[in-house]
Amino acid sequence: MPLSDADLAAIWLTLKLATLTTALLLVAGTPLAWWLARTAARWKGTVSAVVALPLVLPPTVLGFYLLVAMGPAGPLGKLTQAAGLGTLPFTFAGLVLASCLYSLPFVVQPLQNAFTAIPERLLEAAATLRASPLDTFFHVVVPLARPGFLTAAVLGFAHTVGEFGVVLMIGGNIPEKTRVVSVQIYDHVEALEYSQAHWLAGGMLVFSFVVLLALYTLNPAMRRQT
């Protein structure tokens, strides 16, 4: 067996983290993307910029601020302590929260693009056919934006799997709690265990390639763009 128990635990933790993050982001990102796609509000630009920040920020910067915010003296930390939850750094919950912020643009932007592409006229037509806004969203918008949801889910998942800097900053390296695959690879390399590092790194490479290949060949919207 080329993978140790610690490797398997890291893989399992990574999948758990990515799945949970993707699910949470789809739920929270959908209304945000909808708002960004439809609003004419003046601060739309500001919100868009904030959402896109993780694309350009070094993960260590994002991780540093999150560490401070979630720490015992930070605003988030005070909140979680008041709620009796303790502090979030170096916990799985903290990692999920950080991953959600880190992968936010990868979910919001494909959704926003898909929503923008839906003609306003179809929403109006639905309204004149007695469909309430929520009804219209689930029966017109969601089916029409399905390729966007697929892209958002895949990119959100894959990006969370590939996360390293943020995890290191706020999660540390605690087996079965915060030690994800990317951190495990780093450990192997540090310990000069190159063959173990090869198995995990190669696995990540194949996984990422397969995911993107599936995205580009199965998703009609992506196929048109390329």
Partner: protein, 359 residues
Amino acid sequence: MSADSIELRLQLTRTNFALDVALRLPARGVSAIFGASGSGKTTLLRAVAGLERCARGRLDVGGEVWQDSAAGIFVPSHKRSLGYVFQDAALFPHLSVRENLAFGRRRTGDATPPDAAAVVALLDIGPLLDRRPDSLSGGEQQRVAIARALLAKPRLLLMDEPLAALDEQRKAEFLPWLETLHDELDIPVLYVSHALPEVARLADHLVLLEQGRVRAEGALAELLPRLDLPLSHGEEAFVVIAATVGAYDADYALARLDFAGQSLWAPSAPRIPGAAVRVRIQARDVSLALAPHDDSSILNTLPATITALEEQPPGRVLAGLDIGGTALLARVTKRSSAFLGLTRGKTLQAQIKSVALLD
């Protein structure tokens, strides 16, 4: 307020455009909203549908208040029982024709949803039911869009230039459907158009919009001959007369059309006496003579009195005529006008070179 009319008073201001309209429209038949592009026709229609949230005013459709800004009432579009046919049909691309039709029908909140089979038959879309909207022609899409709107059981049907996206041939194919609809529907229709020939065939009532305001409104037959309105100023100016078929002469393939104590003969396919028809007479097809001629090829000559005259430079004169209570337009050259001594109140003979049956 009243169960048999649509009363609206709507205002909407945008940069470079203001809509300010007060109307009371009949609760039966087709009311055409006619005007140049940019006159506010579509905006008015959208405001009636509740799609323009910034419109203010009051809207009462057959006793149901859909909007009363003073009282803070704004019924959202999805709670107004209306049907809206968009210029580009706006069918849902992810649904088949059948599912598109079911979309509104399922949401009427009615224990007995309208009979889909009857509407499908009326618009002849049975063979299209399992197709996808993107595989339909423009005319087919519009027929599906109309059926979809009707199946939502509207109290008011709004149509925004449903022919605009069609080429001339498709238009010609599609107009008869609209005419059938006009005869079969018992709900009022607001029909936005900038094409007068279309309006002449479909409308009973006409609202003339100019820069967001109502320039004139009334029965179609009464507005068309008015010299003070731009309707009579175009090259194609015409009047529409509601007539009944009095007789049909199979030897000459001519129908006698009776109206208000007058008759006209017009070439026609066989017609059943008693049928109601619309007759269109263009101003350029009416010439004037001081005495009746019986040595001319013109079939129809009627005694007429000049009610109004308007010079139309260069070199032409438009005359409003009264033929026993029915209005007619005649366009002659300025020279003929001077030669015949045309003045208001003068009685002469109107020679009608061509009469078109519209339905």
